[in-house]
């Protein structure tokens, strides 16, 4: 590609970025106008409101869920807002979603999960050919909105390397899925404490034949942990994709750690029952369905397939 052409494209993207909503994580501002008060003023006083009980006597509410294509919610988890009410702003979310739709029309974002092998090509002005490609195992997928990010892990020169990519960054040229599969866990950070064989994938790995709506298999591999110390207390976390650890220093150590892990303040048995905690940490289904109804409508204009380079 021409350097001048790349420059031109980058400047174009940067200009459009000026319109992009640069929404960073805001702190909770108590002096801000709340959405509840805004909504009160938006509704017209001309609409006579029925009394509370009369509302319930009217016809039953039929919640028609919008028709959502297969696995759409799992393929695109980034459209739901942050469940913390201090960060919620309906107008900002709407604007952010519009920017996400615009990005989606220009780049094809394939379906993948934590445990799939991806290759991401970035625009890099200091690299040969002005692009840099990194292939790795996806160990994390998170954050909402334009901050949606993934972490890819691989081994380069006998050194474990993790690269974090924000999927809606305009620097990303291409996202390829080399192997589409799932793992037994949602986050694979324990690979940092495993032998490097479990994280190594050759950079020139050939991609699997991936077609639309193909069934996604679960890789039931059980990984072995290195001897302690670890980066996190894996003995306290219920990991499915890890073999039970046997490299304890002594039986005394094992029993002590087990006792500490079974303390009530560590186990937190009450959190399983805590309905309000679950409510505060999730988006209610009515709202998520409403949001996805809008997203699905716009998804018809998105780039569905990679354009083959002629």
């Amino acid at each position: 590609m021409n350097t001048s052409l790349i420059k031109h494209l980058c400047t174009l993207l940067l200009r459009t970025n000026g319109e992009l909503s640069t929404i960073s994580k805001r702190c909770y501002q108590s002096h801000r106008i709340r959405n509840q008060t805004l909504d009160k003023h938006r509704t017209s006083p001309l609409n006579k409101q029925k009394t509370e009980d009369a509302k319930n006597d009217s016809k039953p509410v039929t919640n028609k869920d919008p028709e959502v294509p297969t696995r759409f919610l799992q393929k695109n988890p980034e459209f739901l807002p942050n469940p913390d009410w201090g960060y919620r702003d309906q107008i900002a979310e709407m604007v952010e979603r519009n920017d996400m739709y615009r990005r989606r029309r220009n780049i094809f974002m394939p379906e993948f999960y934590v445990g799939s092998i991806l290759a991401v090509t970035l625009a890099d002005k200091f690299a040969l050919g002005k692009t840099s490609r990194f292939l790795g195992l996806c160990i994390y997928r998170g954050d909402q909105g334009l901050h949606h990010k993934i972490i890819l892990r691989n081994v380069i020169d006998n050194e474990g390397v993790e690269m974090m990519y924000e999927l809606y960054s305009p620097l990303i040229q291409k996202i390829e899925v080399i192997k589409l599969e799932r793992r037994l866990d949602d986050e694979l950070f324990y690979l940092r404490d495993c032998p490097l064989e479990y994280s190594y994938f050759p950079q020139d790995m050939e991609s699997q034949n991936i077609f639309k709506d193909m069934p996604v298999t679960t890789n039931t591999i059980k990984v072995k942990l290195n001897p302690r110390p670890w980066s996190q207390r894996w003995e306290r976390v219920d990991l499915q994709g890890v073999e039970p650890f046997t490299g304890w220093k002594s039986e005394k150590q094992r029993l002590k750690l087990k006792r500490l892990a079974n303390q009530p303040q560590v186990k937190k048995e009450w959190e399983k029952m805590d309905l309000m905690k679950h409510y505060r940490e999730s988006i209610p289904p009515e709202e998520s369905m409403r949001i996805y109804g809008e997203v699905v409508k716009d998804a018809k204009d998105w780039k569905n397939r990679e354009e083959r380079e002629t």
Binding site: Q36, K55, E269, W270, M273, L275, M276, Y279, R280
Partner: protein
Amino acid sequence: MLKFSVKRRPRKLKGVWTGCGSGPSERIKYLRHWVGKLIRDERIEGREDRMNETRGYAEQLISLAIQNGENHRPTMEMATKWFKEKEMTYKLFKVLVPRYENYQTSFTRIQRLPIEYPGNPYYNVVLELKGNPYPSIFPEQRDKAGLLNNILIEAAKKDFYNEHRQSQVVRDSMERDIVGLERDTLQVRMDKSGSGKVENVKTGSTDGTDVDKL
């Protein structure tokens, strides 16, 4: 979705039962007790902060039961964990779910109770499920139009009004007879000198009556 305002952070409920421990585990035990009581009695009283917390949990339970139904295993397990008595899970799925299925508002109502001086440093509150069989907290205003006093007063009002209107009609008709004209045909025309004269709009003739002298 809960259809009433909920705080951003949960309340700690300090000193739930004096002498019985504190912390998140005790808090959940306390709330379990009161949620069960609410489902059983359908109307309970207590401290405002405690009742506000129980309200959230009770409504979440009911809304989950409505969404998923009793055949959904996780909701059934959740309900059995929350209620000490087995009958309450039965009541939740068989009685409360059909009652609240088509509700567009919240399922509970909360109301502050009056303070009896000197009283406590916190508000006492009534928390009730809507559609309960008890008489409502706010007494319904009876229709008093049927009382004899009110009937007589209404009749007297009507009579007075009719009389007043009749007299006005008579006055109008008398005016017409005297003047021999309809209303709105007379007009006051101001002279250059400043005095006004009553003028007939249609014919243009004046009566000679001076407005100043009227």
